[in-house]
C-alpha cells in the first residue's frame, strides 16, 4: 500500500496533468476502493461504474485539487457520496440504513470451538466487525484496514476527528465484550 507521501506527490503531479501519476494512483487505489464501494452497493458491476465515475471526475477536476487536503480521503468520500446517492435514488433510506450487509453469522459448533487456533478468532472477529453499528464499523475499518489517520477518516465520514475517536473506541469496547464472552464460553466447554 502506498504511503501518505506518495498520495501527496501524485496529487501534485495529477494537478499538472501527469497521466503516469494518475495511472499509478489508479492501480494502487482501485482494489481498496472497490472493496469500500461494495460496503454500500453490493453489486460488482454497479461498483465498477461508480469507480469509473469517480476516477473520470477526479481527472476532470484535477486542476482544482488541493494539495493540503488528503487525496486518499477525497477518493473515499467521492465513492461514498456516489454510492449513497445511487442507493437513495432507488429506495428511500436514511443514512444510518446504509449499513453493512446483514449476513447471518454462522453458529460455531462445539467442535470448531474446541479446535483452538488463531484462525478461529480471526474468523469470529470478522463476524463481529461486520455486526458493529455502521458508523463504528466504518471508522474502525478505515483505521485498521485502510491505514487512515483520524483526520482523514473525519474527512471521509464528514464529522469531527473527536467523533471518529469515539466511534473507534466504541467499536473496540463492543469487540472486547464479545471477546470476553467468547473466551469464557470456551473455558466452560473445556
Amino acid at each position: 500500500m502506498a504511503k501518505a507521501t506518495d498520495y501527496q506527490q501524485w496529487a501534485r503531479k495529477i494537478r499538472a496533468s501527469d497521466e503516469k501519476a494518475f495511472h499509478d494512483l489508479f492501480m494502487d487505489s482501485y482494489q481498496p476502493l472497490m472493496r469500500y464501494a461494495l460496503n454500500f452497493v453490493k453489486d460488482t458491476d454497479v461498483a465498477k461504474d461508480i469507480l469509473q465515475e469517480v476516477y473520470a471526475h477526479l481527472w476532470d477536476i484535477r486542476d482544482r485539487l488541493d494539495e493540503k487536503k488528503s487525496l486518499k480521503a477525497l477518493l473515499y468520500r467521492m465513492v461514498k457520496n456516489r454510492s449513497i446517492n445511487l442507493i437513495r435514488s432507488r429506495r428511500p433510506v436514511r443514512l444510518d440504513d446504509v449499513a453493512p450487509s446483514e449476513q447471518p453469522s454462522e453458529e460455531m459448533s462445539p467442535e470448531s470451538i474446541r479446535s483452538d487456533s488463531d484462525g478461529l478468532l480471526e474468523k469470529q472477529l470478522s463476524e463481529w466487525i461486520e455486526a458493529l453499528p455502521p458508523r463504528q464499523r466504518e471508522a474502525f475499518e478505515l483505521s485498521r484496514f485502510e491505514g487512515f489517520d483520524h483526520h482523514e477518516i473525519a474527512e471521509v465520514m464528514e464529522c469531527a476527528p473527536r467523533t471518529v475517536n469515539n466511534h473507534i473506541v466504541g467499536a473496540l469496547n463492543t469487540l472486547r465484550e464479545q471477546l470476553k464472552q467468547w473466551k469464557s464460553q470456551r473455558e466452560n466447554r473445556e
Partner: protein, 321 residues
Amino acid sequence: MNMKRPDHDILKHFSGKEEDEVRLIWEKARRKQQPGDDAIGVNPEEEWALLQKRIQPADRSGLRVRPRPLRTRSSAAKVSVAKTYAFITALAAVLLGGFIMWYLFMPVSMEAPRGEYAGFHWDDGIHVELNSGSRITWNRTFGNGHRNLRLHGEAYFEVQPSGKPFVVETQTARVEVLGTRFNVRSWSDDPDGRTTLTLVEGQVRLASLLEPESHILVQPGHTSQVDYHNTKPLDPQPVNTDQALAWRNHGFYFSGISMSEVAAELERRYDSEIIIQDEVLGDRPLTIYLPRPGELENIIETICFVTNCRYEEKQGTIYLY
C-alpha cells in the same frame, strides 16, 4: 503507517488488561471475504483501459465537464415519503416527551422559518432578530432569577443594561452579557459545531460549554469563536460589523467560508435546495460581500463567476459543478 498497532489516541482510552485485549483485537482483525477480493472478476487493468477511453476524447475536444446523471423526480418523492415518516415519528416523540415535561418546565420558542426573518421585543429591554431557519428557546422561568435562552442558528441581540445577566447558549458556547448589542451564529449542521460571536457594542463574556472556566472578554468590533476542538475561545479578531451583520438587511457576507457552508446558508435564506456535485468545489473557501443580493439566481451566478464553476437548475433544485 503501522496498521498492526492502534493509534495512540485510541490506546490511551484503555488501561492495562484492556489495552492487551485491544492490541489482540487489532492484530487479529480481518475483513470478511467479499466479492471485491481479487478472485472475482475485477481487473484493474481492464478498468483502466475503459477509463482511458472515457477521459481521452474529452481532453482532445477541450470539453472538461461531462453531464452527470441527476436525481430523478421519483426518487425525490420517495425521499420525501421517508421524511414524512421521520417527521411523524419525531412528532410522536415530541408529543410524548412534551407531556411528561409539561409539569417540569415548558419550553417556549420562537422561530424564523426558512426563507423568512423574525424580530421580537421582550418587556425588559431585550430585542432579538432571527436569521432564516433559526430558533431560540427559553422556559417560563425566564426573567425570574435568570435570563437564559438557547439559540439554534444565527441571531442578533440588543440588551438594555439592567443589572441582571443575560445568557445565550449554543451547541458549544455560552455568551454572557450585561447590556450590549451582539450577533451569535451557530448552525447545528456544522461538523465542527462552530459558534461565532460578533460584538457591536458593550462587553460580553464568551466560554465553551466544555470548558466554562476559561472564558474571555470580547470588545466591541471584535469577533471570536468556539467549537468542539477549541474549548478555549479563539483570540478576538477585529471585524467589520456592518459586513458581519449583513444578514439583518438581507445581505450576505462570507469570509473564507467553505462553498458547502455558503450553500447551506443560501438554502435557508431562500428556502431552496442546492446540491454541490463536486467534493473539491464544496470544500473551496469563498470570500464575498453582497449587501443587496436580490434573486437567488444572481447570487449563484456571482459565485460561479468567482469560483469558476457551473450551475444548472432542475425542478427547483440548483446543481453546482
